[in-house]
């Protein structure tokens, strides 16, 4: 067919889909930003941010640390597994690794949280099995249902996604340079870090940014893994709404989480622009 004759028809065909994004995402997003700067009567104010900061500054910091830490571990795991899948020389080990790592890929966060809630508890299966196997003395058992549980759950669930993207990018690289470096006697670790990772950097960044935004939106994991404070911003936003009907402060916290995401995206854009110029 070679495209439509009238440019109007394709626009009409895209309109319903775009309308959903506009009405169910862009409009509420704008609404949330506006509400963050309004008091209950609708007058413009910065009071919501003052309240949000004085109550929840520690939660904002806690969220940032959890996200950065989880994202860093996800990156390391993704590069390590992807690297072994590309450079491994033992076929059975490569096949087994490829089969094992992806199981949590489509496991929803809320189910990952339920698994970990009982697995990581002080008397959970993890400690029980380590003690039974003689790898840990019984009195060393401790629960991980705090910030560590949140990080473990995030990495467990999100690392397979990042690994899938990273190993896909690694597999499509030109084997020539890798084989040449190997023939020259370079170690596999050096090939991974100095030849492969720099080439798949854009994919790595996209995988990590998508992962960090996803983790930033999760309510179930911090709710189910840690009842302590400080906690993640999502929990405090839900609390503000459900207990106080306080949309101003909840949206001020929401705006802060947009800014944190935007900062990550800005770093990425700056990096990719610099690479294009170079």
């Amino acid at each position: 067919m070679g495209g439509f004759r009238a440019p109007l028809l394709p626009l009409l065909l895209v309109t319903p889909a775009l309308a959903i994004v506009a009405l169910l995402f862009i409009y509420p997003l704008g609404y949330s930003v506006a509400t963050a700067f309004q008091d209950k009567g609708g007058a413009w104010t910065l009071a919501n941010f003052a309240t949000a900061w004085s109550f929840y500054a520690r939660d904002v910091g806690f969220t940032a640390i959890i996200i950065v830490l989880s994202t860093a571990i996800i990156g390391v795991v993704g590069i390590a597994i992807g690297g072994y899948l590309v450079l491994g020389t033992t076929p059975w080990a490569v096949a087994a690794l490829a089969w094992i790592y992806r199981w949590p890929l489509f496991v929803p966060f809320i189910i990952a949280a339920q698994c970990m809630r009982t697995f990581l508890a002080k008397n959970g299966l993890m400690n029980n099995s380590l003690i039974a196997a003689g790898l840990m003395p019984p009195d060393a058992a401790q629960g991980f249902l705090d910030w560590r549980g949140i990080v473990i759950t995030f990495v467990w669930k999100q690392a397979p996604f990042a690994t899938l993207m990273i190993s896909g990018a690694m597999a499509s690289l030109d084997r020539g340079t890798i084989d040449a470096a190997r023939n020259l006697g370079a170690s596999r670790l050096r090939i991974l870090l100095e030849i492969i990772v720099p080439q798949i950097r854009p994919t790595l960044m996209v995988a990590l940014i998508l992962s960090s935004v996803t983790m930033m939106s999760v309510l179930s994991v911090p709710l189910m893994l840690s009842g302590q404070t400080p906690t993640m911003m999502t929990v405090q936003m839900a609390y503000r709404i459900n207990q106080h009907g306080d949309y101003g402060v909840a949206n001020a916290l929401g705006l802060m989480s947009y800014v944190m995401t935007a900062a990550v995206a800005w770093i990425y854009l700056r990096e990719s622009l610099r690479e294009k110029r170079a």
Binding site: M1, G2, G3, F4, P7, P10, L11, L13, V14, P16, A17, L18, I20, V21, L24, F25, I26, Y27, P28, Y31, S32, T35, T90, A96, L97, I100, R102, W103, F106, V107, P108, I110, I111, A113, Q114, C115, M116, T118, F119, G124, L125, N128, I131, W156, L210, V213, S217, V218, L219, S220, L223, M224, M237, Y247, A250, N251, G254, L255, S257, A265
Partner: protein
């Protein structure tokens, strides 16, 4: 010595893979054990009493979990319907038409995934409240459809892009109308990709928690909401069985995804 060393060379790899398997499967096995545990108290390392009592409880036809399961499946099917209804025309136009600002339009569908979604859901709930959509199946379906739109539109676009246009041209030359060509040539060829998109959207809806929590609860009971309530109430058997029900389609899809999402389509996703 070297003979002995090479004999044991497989050991470190096997150990490392064993540790990874423990990390990956341990939490899942834990779910399975809990679902059959009729009594599991400290200091027992494993349940002291096993059985199907809680499975019977969950699968009672009139039980809360069954009601939530049917709700969830119904909502997920409606979400797939809404997504396909808008994604098929949009995907076809994005693949074939000369659209101005095509890259911007493609990116627009990624937006709901590129921002933290929880504050957006809070405000959707508030807006829906004024239109009487809060606590309705329609409201939940709309929220799920908007979040899954990036999968449905991008994969549909890729599926249409991967089709050889000469086949369509041949049908047109034989006298078929544009609509007939689309229905008898283009659409059937795009079907595997559209199935993949539908499965993505179905799973995304089936497993969705945060949006349903703000827009649907407590009137609309979905399976993830029911699981959350059971877990927070300390009913680990009920929540584990509910989680297992939700896991089956997720794991099944993980195992077959590559069959539907062929390489030639996958290479065009997002392009």
């Amino acid at each position: 010595m070297s003979a002995v060393a090479s004999q044991w060379r497989w050991l470190p790899r096997a150990l490392a893979l064993g540790v990874l398997a423990y990390v990956v499967f341990g939490p899942l096995a834990n779910l399975l054990i809990w679902s059959f545990a009729e009594a599991w108290y400290w200091p027992n390392k494993l349940p002291s009493q096993w059985g199907f009592r809680f499975w019977e409880y969950v699968f009672r036809p009139t039980g809360r979990v069954m009601e939530a399961l049917w709700n969830s499946i119904w909502i997920a099917l409606l979400t797939v319907g809404v997504s396909l209804a808008v994604a098929v025309p949009a995907g076809y136009a994005l693949a074939r038409g000369q659209l101005p600002w095509r890259a911007v339009i493609m990116l627009a569908f990624l937006l709901p995934q590129a921002f933290p979604s929880l504050p957006v859901y809070i405000n959707i709930a508030r807006i829906f409240y004024e239109f009487g959509l809060n606590g309705t199946v329609t409201g939940v379906v709309l929220v799920h459809a908007s979040h899954g739109l990036v999968f449905s539109v991008w994969i549909a676009t890729a599926a249409f892009s991967a089709i050889d246009q000469e086949l369509e041209q041949a049908a047109r030359n034989l006298g078929a109308s544009a609509l007939r060509t689309f229905m008898t040539v283009t659409l059937p060829l795009a079907t595997p990709g559209l199935i993949a998109a539908s499965i993505f959207v179905f799973l995304e809806s089936l497993d969705e928690f945060t949006g349903s929590f703000f827009v649907g609860a407590p009137e609309v009971k979905t399976l993830p909401l029911e699981m959350f309530t059971a877990s927070m109430g300390g009913n680990y058997q009920i929540s584990s069985i509910t989680a297992l029900i939700l896991l089956v389609p997720s794991i099944a899809f993980m195992l077959v995804v590559e069959r539907f999402l062929r390489g030639d389509v996958l290479a065009k996703v997002g392009a």
